[in-house]
């Protein structure tokens, strides 16, 4: 095993471990944080079916954002859809036999990487030109956008311009998944792409990217508006 392979195998496992433990620790924290007050944002659903419907609208269509800022919604929605498709297309590297449905989706050539990059650049620009979002933006917002743009750019490069041997990439990734390390493909662009992704995985649990799991735990969105029917008691408020 070459030094580079050894280095990246260790790096990959460290990154995956930090990501998994960090992400799950955050989820545990969100899930066990008491919400002492009944604060669903009205108009709110009055039963749990309604809550599921509301969550679907929120997670699937970013409803709140849609009604608050149409311009950012367009950029954000495009970006997230492109991200979803990109992730689905990458799944083929992680399963020994690629499920037929996945191969079928992958067969559509829709230049999704360019859409992803474009939407990110648009969102970056919006942060700068809209006074309000400029004022609200933190360093980490810019850093994350630049990070994702670099990942998209290197991904586009390997996919369309300086191709890498996909079979070797899959070999390497399957080696990681099966805990039997294989040689890492030596193409510089692929290695940069992979490095950026691992760094992002490490940063993920400590960043605003945790909204991906956190959205499901927003009290204003996931509570049932039944304050008059059921008494809302927080477990830790019950003493003796």
């Amino acid at each position: 095993m070459s030094g580079l392979t050894l280095l990246y195998t260790l790096f990959a496992y460290v990154a995956i471990a930090v990501f998994l433990v960090g992400f799950l620790a955050r989820i545990w924290k969100y899930a066990t944080t008491p919400s002492p007050l009944k604060i669903p944002l009205t108009p709110a659903p009055v039963n749990s079916v309604g809550v599921v419907y509301r969550m679907v609208q929120e997670v699937g269509f970013f409803k709140s954002l849609f009604y608050s800022n149409r311009i950012i919604w367009i950029g954000g929605y495009l970006m997230h859809i492109a991200l979803l498709i990109t992730i689905v297309k990458h799944l083929r590297f992680f399963f020994k036999t690629t499920p037929a449905a996945l191969a079928w989706i992958t067969s559509f050539e829709i230049y999704v990487g360019f859409i992803f990059f474009g939407a990110l650049a648009f969102l970056f620009l919006m942060r700068l030109v809209i006074d309000r979002t400029y004022y609200l933006s933190l360093m980490q917002d810019y850093v994350l956008l630049i990070f994702l743009m670099l990942i998209a750019a290197t991904g586009i490069l390997t996919k369309y311009y300086v191709r890498t041997d996909i079979i070797k990439v899959k070999q390497f990734v399957m080696g990681l998944v099966q805990f039997r390390p294989e040689a890492i493909p030596g193409d510089p662009i692929f290695i940069i792409h992979f490095t950026l992704v691992l760094l992002l995985l490490i940063y993920f649990p400590f960043s605003k990217l945790m909204h991906s799991g956190g959205i499901f735990f927003s009290p204003t969105r996931n509570q049932v508006d039944d304050a008059r029917e059921v008494r809302h008691v927080t477990p830790w408020a019950v003493k003796g």
Partner: protein, 128 residues
């Protein structure tokens, strides 16, 4: 309350570790990563058995070559110049599509739209 938290935690755990779980269920953990076994190319008599470009380059770039050739032939009419890169030519040496192109593609999860059984125009079945 605790029940709900545990459920949420487990749902995220399963989603995030799905590739590892699937490979564990398949019994692939610690086994060699699979590799497609490809049929060797066989040039017709009198032709040197050598791919149209360097083999490592072909592995990574044959799709670009084929697509460029397609555009040049169909839109710009340069059939003679790009004859070397035609599918017709590929199959003179790579005689069995199922044992060569398809094996690699199904491993990588790619479905090129060119072939007849995928809705395209070329070679509905393996060409001999």
């Amino acid at each position: 309350m605790k029940m709900k938290a545990i459920t949420a935690f487990l749902v995220f755990l399963v989603i995030l570790t799905l590739p590892f779980l699937v490979s564990a269920v398949n019994g692939d953990i610690l086994s060699q990563a699979p590799q497609p076994k490809l049929e060797k190319a066989k040039a017709p008599a009198g032709v040197e058995n050598k791919c149209v470009e360097e083999v490592p380059y072909m592995r990574a770039n044959h799709m670009n070559i084929l697509k460029t050739a397609r555009v040049q032939v169909v839109r710009n009419g340069l059939r003679e110049k790009y004859k070397k890169y035609s599918l017709e030519n590929c199959f003179t040496c790579h005689r069995n599509r199922a044992e060569f192109c398809d094996k690699c593609h199904s491993y990588a999860g790619v479905e090129p739209g060119c072939f007849g059984d995928r809705g395209g125009c070329h070679y509905a079945n393996t060409k001999k």
